[in-house]
Symmetry: C2
Subunit: 339 residues, 2 copies
Amino acid sequence: MPETNRRIVLASRPEGEPRPENFRAETAPVDAPGPGQVLVRVQWLSLDPYMRGRMSAARSYVKPVGIGEVMAGGGVGEVLASNAPGLAPGDIVMGYFGWQTHAMADAAGLRKLDPAEAPVQTALGILGMPGMTAWTGLHNIGQPKPGETVVVAAAAGPVGSLVGQIARLRGCRAVGIAGGAEKGRYLVDELGFDAAVDHRDPDMAGKLAAACPKGIDVYFENVGGTVWDAVLPLLNDFARVPVCGLVAAYNMTELPPGPDRTPALMRAILVRRLTLRGFIVWDFNAQEEAFRQEVGAWLREGRVKHREDVTEGLENAPEALIGLLKGRNFGKALVRVAR
Amino acid sequence: MPETNRRIVLASRPEGEPRPENFRAETAPVDAPGPGQVLVRVQWLSLDPYMRGRMSAARSYVKPVGIGEVMAGGGVGEVLASNAPGLAPGDIVMGYFGWQTHAMADAAGLRKLDPAEAPVQTALGILGMPGMTAWTGLHNIGQPKPGETVVVAAAAGPVGSLVGQIARLRGCRAVGIAGGAEKGRYLVDELGFDAAVDHRDPDMAGKLAAACPKGIDVYFENVGGTVWDAVLPLLNDFARVPVCGLVAAYNMTELPPGPDRTPALMRAILVRRLTLRGFIVWDFNAQEEAFRQEVGAWLREGRVKHREDVTEGLENAPEALIGLLKGRNFGKALVRVAR
């Protein structure tokens, strides 16, 4: 087998924002699959905000990527060789292949995709982890009721855009926060959000208040920082806040200056009977089939839309992740590793 | 009717801790009840931490007590005269009579008590608002499962002591935080808590960690401040925090100095999938009968205990409330207004 694996490993842990030198490209030989394994040629690599967490040594959901280890990540690829029943060369599979062109994977951890059902890379976006994050967080924690106001930040991204579209389908007012006028137009004109707010606007808090005349009942939290500061005063009694991510804090190296506003947050939780609840998509793994059926049907019927932001070539993945953490992507961030 | 009403009104709003001059004693004539009303001679006045909130003009659940208005509060008393069907002189009723010796009350807002069932003042404590706060917050939000660890502060008070006792009845490890060795002994020796921690101990955080070897699954929050700081690092994945009160912050006039730890709290919520949810007892009014039946049975069977801290005389209520906010009470704080 004359194939060579190109891969990107974690060279060093970032202080604050990741930089190109935190990554290193390598090559490695490609072996034949052992029992129960398949060799996959990766076609698509998914880039997601959680990857910043894996680059740090700090306590988080799962163990960090080690120095010198292949960067973690989900992908879609083609089976080149199989030593596992049920998978054959040519099959398209989704799995956690990491940042590399070739991956040896246990068949048990893979999901076989049907290219006739939807473009295979949607398994990394609207029909995959980001889509399920939006759907499970909104239903289990946000619990939006018709007529309520649902706000989501990073609204042009794969999670936020589906949160807003589900809110609309559930009869809610959907308000999206995103960076720049182009994303705002996309949210309103193409996705059907009721309003969009530019987080770069110096009067972002005032614009958000104007966009939410009846306050906020559900805030799907995936950024933190100044957006959260603008949201908190607008939360209605009994508002629900699924806490899904805090991109604004991922590159933070120290806490911001005082005063310590923790008591004010706790008081708001108490007096307005807020619910803040953190979650990770796999907390709701039992709902995966229900998610895929409902959102898959919406997608086929054209009731939800999605958008991809494709970077060509594995070697450009580090810059693309750095940009993602700055909000530079417009749609689901993907790297096309091979055609 | 030769009776004179003595009452205590809010003379001025406190800055920080309430002081005696924020209160003023007055007398007023007593009228005959109008249609649907009864005249009540108050026997017991309940003192509760929420009263500090009513003294401030800040946004809270309900409108503040106005300057010159009678201080708000629940009480138990005897009907002196009735102009309402179903209530007769001599009946014992519970209602929100305020800080006064005589109250004119709409019969619709009163609950008639049966002195044969339990001492009437328990309607202000373990069988009343504090007891129901403990029971509803723990069941609806805390949702303790057998084998889990439940921590509660102000544990010798009427809410905390019932939280811990319910936790034990549900098969949990109950850890109480209270001020001083005497309260600690009471929690362990009389109420059956598994451990007690003195919040005045310079190593309170270390003692709490030692008392919770498997971490904390439910923290019933009613104090905030340094106790919360000690609890947060010990919360397990999926821990639940019913936020019921923040006594440590009630007298706070400004936010504490920095850094701003809000991002650290949000990150803990995210990574450990915590649930923080504020509540007020009346959010669960529909469960009042279920609460009273279960806790009433436990009380009659001796499976839960309670303790009263009685101040004699309405004129001493201001000092008693000031002491309550400093944790000086030991048990349910009551004022005996008349025998």
